[in-house]
Amino acid sequence: MLSVIVPLYNEEDNVAPLYEALCAALAPLAVPCEILFVDDGSRDATLARVLALPRRRGAVRLRLLRFRRNRGQTAAMAAGIAHARGRVLVTMDGDLQNDPRDIPRLLAKLEEGFDLVVGWRRQRKDHWSRVWPSKVANWLIGKVTGVPIRDNGCSLKAYRAEFIKSIPLYAEMHRFIPAISSLAAPRIAEIAVRHHPRRFGRSKYGFSRIYKVLLDLLAIRAILSFARRPFSWLLGLAGAAGLFALVALALYLAALLAPERAPTVVWSGLAVLWGALALFALVLAFLSELLYAGRARELARFNRLAARPLGSGH
């Protein structure tokens, strides 16, 4: 079975055309499909419009989950993923900017043995004020996480259910699915997909997203390092601080031993400060080891997912 998960927030005008487009795209697949709409606490008539849709059309079945308050796109997507019944899951936006006709191509790529196929909006139809920050963010995400995806923000993705259901999705992590899923060393493919200008409704993104993405990026980097090497992820900070402490200590000794009397208080103070930071980072490294040990069984699932039989390709 195939599940198509679509979070909806105030998309009353998009619901019916999206449903029609999805049915038209899924019907030729000749596999049982479910369209799983997740109404994320919409305040307009989105819910009523979904309820007015036919519950079944051929092999395509409609399901609807609903949050009574707006919980955000990640929570809606995570709920859809958790409730989906398909062996293959597709996620997409509900604003008609993604094109359901790309779904068969995503599935074909997945069939080649990939765990995750990511859409790439090669010709984005958004305002430059959204496109350029997004390009910079994608470049940064690739550099920082080591997962060079060109379009992390594209919601149109296809996953193996077993794989995506094992990835923890919380806060606003949907943008970082490829990065966070790298914990399980997935086989990721990226294909160009269509993108349309928004026809109805308003975009829910603003400039505050840039600051949040930057902080989230640092957090993701820490998570990836921690999950691979729980003790040593902070040792970089400890090492750098220790190095500064040694330099300050050397300057202190040089001032102390100089033939003419030179001030030493500042250098000794700096040595103590940087040394204290090195010690603090070391203590935190022990703390993270403790944290990992407490959740080792759960965190080890990424390693299980990463294991592949010999000759499985990609």
Binding site: L51, R63, L64, Y170, P263, W267, L277, L291, L299
Partner: protein
């Protein structure tokens, strides 16, 4: 020794609101955190007020601490055959933990929670029952005959509105009506009971606030005490940053480290360009202290993020309703 309060004058009206009858059993949870010599009389007034609100009404008294007088009065009530159950807790447990235990024990389809000296007209409790049709939790908002000054009441609510965007106008009445599912879902600790409406809303429950006639207890609300402000800060952190702690720590840490970095750069500029000596001034230590402090806060934030990641599957999230399945 706990203080024994003098009897309050009876409220002017205590008959139940007409026309509202909740389906199933209503469990009335009464929190007793100090001595009341007139607890039996209070119970009778309360019982009369809620008698018509549900098909069946039972009472659960939660005693926080030794409270021998109140215990004795309640024992008499139980002996008289009244539908009353009493649970005793050590005061060290904290009011929120006691309330959580009480919510688990309460076995009605609806649970009404109020303190033994509830500062609302009991006859207006029916208004809460009227509003529960569209909500999971209904909160009493006191309307005063003579509105108190802003200095006397409303400070907590103003702060929560400012920090958390809270829509609630009265957090101190502490009179709540909950559906069974909401009572099962809520887990409170510390002094979080003061912020139950906010925490319920954070957990995805629909919370409605309903005006009822009430009063301000003598001596209450004169000042914001330190523990209350600390509790508010804790709730602020939980509501805003439970799932993304690094946005809190990272924002502060990057700010502090950037400040220290800029100050250090200025000192280096002074030394290299203006030739001002660096080694005999504390300025470099202070700027470095800021950098180190910023990095420490960032590191602590990353640990917070790791904790969230490691427990991501167990963090309480709202379960969506299956409308079409």
């Amino acid at each position: 020794m706990a203080a024994v309060l003098a009897d309050r004058p009876s409220p002017p009206r205590s008959e139940p609101a007409p026309g509202v009858r909740l389906a199933g059993r209503l469990c009335v949870v009464v929190r007793v955190d100090r001595e009341f010599t007139d607890l039996a009389e209070r119970h009778r007034r309360l019982a009369a007020a809620v008698a018509g609100l549900a098909e069946e009404v039972r009472f659960l008294y939660l005693l926080e601490g030794a409270l021998p007088t109140s215990r004795e009065r309640l024992a008499e009530l139980v002996a008289s055959g009244a539908p009353v159950e009493v649970l005793r807790f050590p005061s060290a447990l904290g009011s929120a933990a006691v309330l959580t235990a009480g919510l688990r024990k309460a076995d009605g389809a609806h649970v009404l929670v109020l303190p033994a000296d509830a500062p609302v007209e009991l006859g207006e409790l029916g208004r809460l029952a009227e509003a529960i049709g569209n909500a999971d939790v209904v909160v009493a908002r006191r309307m005063f005959a003579e509105p108190p000054s802003r200095l006397r009441a409303g400070k907590l609510e103003s702060l929560t509105r400012l920090l958390l965007g809270s829509p609630f106008a009265d957090l101190r009445a502490e009179v709540w009506l909950l559906r069974r599912q909401a009572a099962d879902q809520l887990v409170l600790y510390g002094n979080q009971h003061r912020f139950l409406p906010l925490i319920a809303q954070m957990q995805g429950l629909l919370v409605a606030e309903v005006p009822v006639r009430g009063w301000l207890p003598q001596g209450a609300g004169r000042r914001l005490d330190l523990p209350l402000v600390l509790d508010l800060l804790a709730v602020f952190f939980l509501v805003r940053f439970l799932h993304k702690p690094f946005r809190f720590f990272g924002g502060i840490g990057l700010g502090v480290a950037a400040l220290g970095g800029l100050a250090t750069l200025w000192l280096v500029f002074e030394r290299l360009v203006l030739g001002i000596a660096l080694a005999d001034r504390p300025a470099l230590i202070l700027s470095t202290l800021l950098v180190v402090l910023g990095l420490q806060i960032i590191a602590v934030g990353l640990i917070g993020e790791l904790i969230t990641f490691a427990h991501a599957r167990h963090l309480r999230e709202e379960e969506p309703e299956r409308v079409i399945d």
